[in-house]
């Protein structure tokens, strides 16, 4: 028994490293403080931890799916690829937090600690094959997120965002649990594999009860990915949080939520499941509404952070298309979209961070004529905006193209049509920001950007180049992902 537990742990090393990094950060901060030397040490600890985590995840890529800890988690290629994207995203926001003055200097260590904690929760969520681990993952993710939102302790907006996040989060988690409890009663187990067997032979009153329970269950997950009826919190929280936290929220919790929706859908609602058709139609409606609402609301936003929040809602609707097709093409498209989305979001928030550093606000007017003084910064942002809008030859285009082609292959014609229309709508608000930066005249007294140093420029280039390169050499990364099968149940 002990031996098998150790073997299980050896597959769970990336998560263990992430937890150790969190503890190490706590110790380093307690021992050295956040003065000059302590600050460097904290960042070095965080970066080393994440790089180690990446290396260990890399060694897990391509192994056959394996169930660990009494079938409560599964290690498979899909989950591992998703975790790699999440760890990269966390590492990226570490660099953003280093350059941002939006977080108080002495709270930056707290940011690193809590971001790593959220990452641990997200990794648990991605590989959960049991209702209990799923719930634990969601709550680890959520509770730390509430604190991260209110990290600007002296500002009322940040606290307000935290309250909204915590209240919505608590309510949706409660509703999800209520659904889970009935699933447990209906199927007699909290294991995905046992529930999946039960789902195949549902009929009569049990069918209705299971459907209602699954819908209640979806409330909690849907809230984490901010899809249509549960998206209301997202713009407020994004606007109220410090910039690095906003960047973090639009990557790690969202991708973890997408991964869990994918796993749940493919385990319970495949073609032979009694609920498959109903669930597919339900998800199609949700996806269509999510992208339409997100993109339409983004049209009239003056705050760039709010605009990016609504645009990320639109992107989630697009990614949900890959969930609905429920096959290998779909999961590949999800992973590729996730990777490109991660780079684009990091770059967009990194640049927004500089404007927030300088003016303390992310309003459209502060982006006016940025090209005059900062041509490199502006060019990078314009490239990223084009990619977000889905123009060729950037990564965003290939990601959207793959997603829509996966949907068309599965005969989801109307949904693909809605996705194409949404791409056109989103073009307007991305190009509008690009126009503000390049063609509009700057105000009289333009001031120097804070912290816009040479390392910051190198980091910005390192974020922008993948966006372009992924658009041209996408087939290389696709070959890697085509091995990324998803393990069902467990």
């Amino acid at each position: 028994m002990t031996v098998s537990l150790l073997t299980h742990l050896s597959f769970y090393l990336p998560e263990a490293i992430a937890i150790l990094t969190m503890c190490g950060l706590l110790f380093v901060e307690a021992a050295y403080g956040m003065a000059e030397r302590g600050r460097t040490l904290v960042y070095i600890t965080g970066i080393i931890g994440m790089v180690l985590c990446l290396a260990l995840l890399g060694s897990n890529v391509g192994i056959a799916p394996i169930s660990l800890f009494a079938k409560s988690v599964v290690i498979d290629s899909f989950g591992t690829s998703m975790k790699i994207i999440m760890v990269l995203g966390t590492l990226g926001t570490f660099f953003i937090s280093d350059k941002s003055t939006d977080i108080y200097e002495n709270l930056k260590s707290e940011y690193l600690i809590m971001a790593t904690g959220v990452l641990v929760g997200g990794m648990l969520l991605v590989s959960a094959t049991n209702l209990l681990t799923l719930y634990l993952g969601i709550e680890t993710l959520s509770i730390l997120s509430y604190v991260m939102t209110s990290l600007k302790r002296k500002e009322s907006t940040s606290q307000e965002a935290g309250i909204k996040y915590a209240l919505y989060g608590g309510v949706t988690a409660g509703i999800m649990l209520f659904g889970m409890s009935h699933l447990y009663g209906l199927f007699g187990s909290i294991n995905f594999a046992d529930i999946a067997v039960g789902v195949k032979t549902l009929e009569g009153a049990k069918f209705t009860a299971a459907l209602v329970s699954f819908l209640l269950f979806f409330v909690g997950v849907g809230y984490k990915i901010a899809c249509f009826p549960f998206h209301m919190w997202s713009p407020d929280v994004y606007q109220g949080s410090p910039v690095p936290v906003t960047a973090f929220f639009s990557i790690v919790p969202k991708l973890a939520g997408i991964a869990v929706v994918t796993r749940v859908t493919m385990t319970f609602f495949s073609a032979e499941s009694a609920l498959g058709d109903v669930w597919s139609i339900f998800l199609q409606v949700i996806a269509a509404l999510t992208m339409t609402v997100g993109n339409l609301a983004a049209l009239r936003q003056e705050s760039v952070k709010r605009m990016l929040a609504y645009s990320s809602i639109g992107h989630v609707g697009m990614i949900l298309m890959g969930v609905i097709v429920m096959n290998q093409t779909g999961t590949n498209a999800i992973l590729f979209y996730g990777l490109v989305y991660m780079f684009m979001t990091l770059a967009a928030f990194f640049i927004t961070g500089f404007v927030v550093n300088r003016y303390g606000s992310d309003d459209h007017v502060f982006f006016r004529g940025l090209v005059k003084n900062y041509p490199f910064l502006t060019i990078c942002f314009v490239l990223v905006l084009f990619s977000l809008a889905g123009l060729p030859p950037f990564g965003g285009f290939v990601a959207k193209f793959n997603m829509i082609s996966a949907a068309i292959n599965s005969k989801l014609y109307s949904l693909s049509f809605i996705a194409a229309i949404n791409s056109v709508i989103s073009l307007y608000f991305y190009i509008r920001l690009a126009k503000t930066m390049t063609l509009d005249q700057p105000d009289e007294e333009t001031e120097e950007l804070v912290e816009y140093t040479v390392p910051a420029r190198i980091y910005l280039a390192a974020l922008t180049i993948p966006v372009v390169v992924l658009g041209i050499f996408w087939d290389k990364i696709y070959k890697v992902y085509s091995a990324a099968t998803i393990a069902l149940g467990g």
Binding site: L132, Y135, E139, L167, G170, V171, A173, L177, G188, R300
Partner: protein, 101 residues
């Protein structure tokens, strides 16, 4: 004497009372109380199903986890509410509307 239906009925009542509290009360602390009611209704369901239907321990363990996490969530929620109160001198939800777009 009391069968499964009783427990499910009580938990359903708790659930809807919780929802009603969340929708009707304007005090943030009262809303947090409503959230606790919903969480407890789910925990009660788990224990009842575990006792009457499935006869395994999964439900009991799940309900213990729910209690622990509910406490953690309430602690974080109240901490943020206290910060908000220190800044704005109110915990009324209708006052919390600075963030609009």
């Amino acid at each position: 004497m009391f069968g499964l239906e009783w427990y499910l009925g009580i938990s359903l009542v708790l659930f809807f009372v919780g929802i009603a509290v969340i929708l009707s009360r304007k005090n943030i602390v009262a809303i947090l109380l409503g959230v606790e009611l919903i969480l407890n209704s789910a925990a009660l369901n788990f224990v009842a199903y575990s006792r009457f239907v499935t006869q395994n321990l999964d439900g009991h363990i799940f309900s213990l986890f729910i209690i622990v996490i509910a406490a953690a969530e309430a602690a974080v929620g109240l901490a943020i509410v206290i910060r908000y109160f220190q800044i704005n001198n109110t915990i009324h939800v209708d006052e919390a509307k600075e963030l609009r777009g």
